[in-house]
Symmetry: C2
Subunit: 423 residues, 2 copies
């Protein structure tokens, strides 16, 4: 390990975070007129005008400013911005009658999609818990717990375990197929693990730790591939693998054909998702004070699948997705996988010490800083070709915002500091 090199990564990350990323958001996202956050910006960083406020973008922005404040940035200004976002969540997005947060509003705060979507609710639990941890203001944890309780009552499948994910405004389970009522996903369950971790960190309640332990077991024993320990995207209620379909309610840009099917609908895994899962699992174990012993096999498989198949050693960065056995299907470079691989590879290197993880970090760091970050404006480009040419160029959208990019920098700096200290 080259300490100088680590310090250089750290300095680049710190400069990007404090001079580009956080200022990008601080100077343009607060909606002083209607409350909450503006979250749609074009390549120049100008408001691109989409008239929507999504649960994901609002909660993630609360997380971003809360976590930045907790990590010591912003001298109090970020706590105030987070509070501004919490007010909108509690006063506008919360369904007073039925409980839970709506999925989508217009900028003024009129409800546009009133459904209760677990993916979004997981970010409400995560962000509101982080807000209380960062500021001490109890209202965050109060609404995180309300959301957690509603999820347990309405979402848990007490037959097969895990959670159903798509509900109407009044918490009736939606229908099957593209409505999603019969499906369980890696995505929602992984983000619930992340959410329960921070909820337990904020509350200290045994029930939150217990549900965290349960969902960790579910992820490892049901959701990860029995041979490769890589993430399988979609399941039916009984945990049989479901062909990956496009839902009516989406939160990303997964590639589907016209009929809503994927080309490799039953043999598909995301390198970035697997690495994200691994470092989130390590963090969950840390918070719950559980030793890694029983989890090393899973963790190493998650990291090594990306090392062996996902990292682009030629052009840098990590590919989008491929088969569980290793064949790469999609060599484009999406923003969020890069962000998660940065954190995850530092964790892998820190714990397991193999230089290959640091090389993977370096490869991804170089690609992000040289190709993906739009330094003049401050945020990351959402999608590049394998070689690093822009495909999509906007700076933010409901499904992009700031959670991956800011968290990646905040958490990478924490990990680089640890490495420098122990190195």
């Amino acid at each position: 390990m080259n300490k100088e090199q680590l310090l250089k990564y750290r300095e680049e990350a710190y400069q990007h975070l404090t001079k580009e990323l956080l200022p990008f958001w601080e100077t343009r996202c607060v909606d002083e007129v209607n409350g909450g956050f503006i979250t749609h910006f074009d390549n120049n960083g100008n408001d691109s005008g989409e008239d929507e406020k999504s649960l994901i973008a609002q909660t993630r922005t609360v997380f971003t400013f809360s976590s930045a404040h907790r990590a010591g940035y912003g001298e109090g200004r970020y706590a105030a911005i987070a509070k501004h976002g919490v007010n909108f969540l509690v006063n506008k997005m919360w369904d007073v009658e039925n409980g839970g947060f709506y999925w989508l509003m217009d900028r003024k705060g009129n409800v546009r999609i009133d459904e209760k979507i677990v993916y979004g609710l997981s970010f409400a639990i995560y962000s509101l818990s982080e807000y209380t941890l960062a500021t001490g203001d109890p209202i965050g944890l109060e609404y995180a717990e309300k959301t957690f309780n509603l999820l347990q009552v309405h979402g848990a499948d007490t037959h097969y375990g895990g959670y159903f994910e798509m509900f109407t405004r009044t918490w009736e389970l939606k229908g099957p197929g593209s409505a999603g009522g019969d499906r369980k996903t890696l995505d929602a369950h992984m983000h619930l693990m992340e959410a329960f971790t921070t909820l337990f960190e904020a509350s200290g309640q045994q029930v939150h730790r217990r549900k965290l332990e349960e969902i960790i077991q579910l992820l490892i024993n049901k959701i990860m591939h029995p041979v490769y320990s890589t993430g399988i995207p979609q399941f039916l209620a009984d945990w049989s693998v479901a062909p990956q379909i496009k839902f009516d309610i989406i939160w990303g840009w997964d590639r589907f054909s016209e009929d809503g099917l994927k080309s490799s609908a039953e043999d598909n895994t995301s390198y970035g998702h697997n690495v994200e899962f691994a470092w989130l699992l390590m963090h969950a174990l840390d918070i719950a004070k559980i030793p890694y012993d029983d989890y090393n096999t899973q963790l190493l498989k998650s990291f090594n699948h990306a090392i062996d198949h996902g990292i682009d050693w030629e052009f840098g960065g990590v590919y989008v997705e491929g088969s569980h056995a290793g064949e790469v299907y999609d060599r484009e470079k999406e923003f969020w996988q890069q962000a998660e691989v940065l954190i995850g590879m530092l964790d892998a290197y820190r714990i397991y010490g193999d230089e290959k993880y640091l090389k993977a970090y370096d490869s991804t760091h170089r690609f992000v800083f040289e190709k993906m970050i739009h330094h003049e404006v401050g945020e990351w480009l959402p999608l590049l070709t394998r070689q690093g040419e822009p495909i999509w160029t906007h700076m933010s959208h409901s499904w992009k915002v700031n959670y991956h990019s800011v968290r990646s920098m905040v958490q990478s700096i924490v990990r680089l500091d640890k490495l420098v200290k122990t190195g």
Copy 2:
């Protein structure tokens, strides 16, 4: 089918219910001094003085008077008695701070065991829902739903499905072994099915129907024996069969040796419990408007195991328990198995039409009316020898009270009336 015989059963049941059973309880159970109910009576029907009010006895007495009122008995007096019991539950037994009902109090209403025990909570949900169905007073359903919600949040096992059953006052899961925190039981899950049925009947809410469907599947697919479809009493969290042990908190008189183990700890089933499960399942399907088609195999196996091995065709009545394959271990006659077999065999005869079920009803009816009912006083003896000699002679105790005997008569009359009408 002999209509005259059916009318004779009906008349005997009606006379016992209205002249003996209900008057027994109406004249002595209301505690005007401390609220709630006195539930301990000796063989003469005198208060035997035990200084305890158990969650089971209080809720079951609320159920008894509510259901008797709903079935048309008591001209309003039983609704008032039920209300008296609900007041004690809500004002004394409810844990305002942590939610949920305490397990045991003294007569004055001081908490003696403050734990949250799912078996007892299932009767709270059941009884309070029945109370609202009977009277229209919304407070019953309000507390039934509160209890249901707490059970979902704290009790559900989101990894393996089903419910954990033993919690501290603050809803921390108790330890393993005799503390019961690592066990799942047929008993609690069956009574949750019963409770969710009546909760859904009262609320009409989809979530209550959904949890009812889930627990039905659990009972059939995990809790019933894979070959014999008979009930297995105890499991570990992952639904592997657990040797039957005695818990620190008990609600019955199961026979255990000194060291808290059963003689046939891993091959033991109760005929009466299996028949009770079958008729409760039929009732659940009726309330949820689910056809019996997919459940006939289970239902017939439950009834026929008792017919083939449990009914005492010589002395009448049903034995206590035996092996799944059929060997009888315990030929004594306990009150509650007789009560449930009466209802169940009438249901089996009504649906499947085989005279053997009516013969089993007749055999049990005769035994109950000639040997078990203490007609001079009004209630049933708790335990007799195979031949019908009294072993235990008290009329009521925390684990006996009135739920089995009164429900057996109320529900048998409903079924006999149907048979007479269609016969």
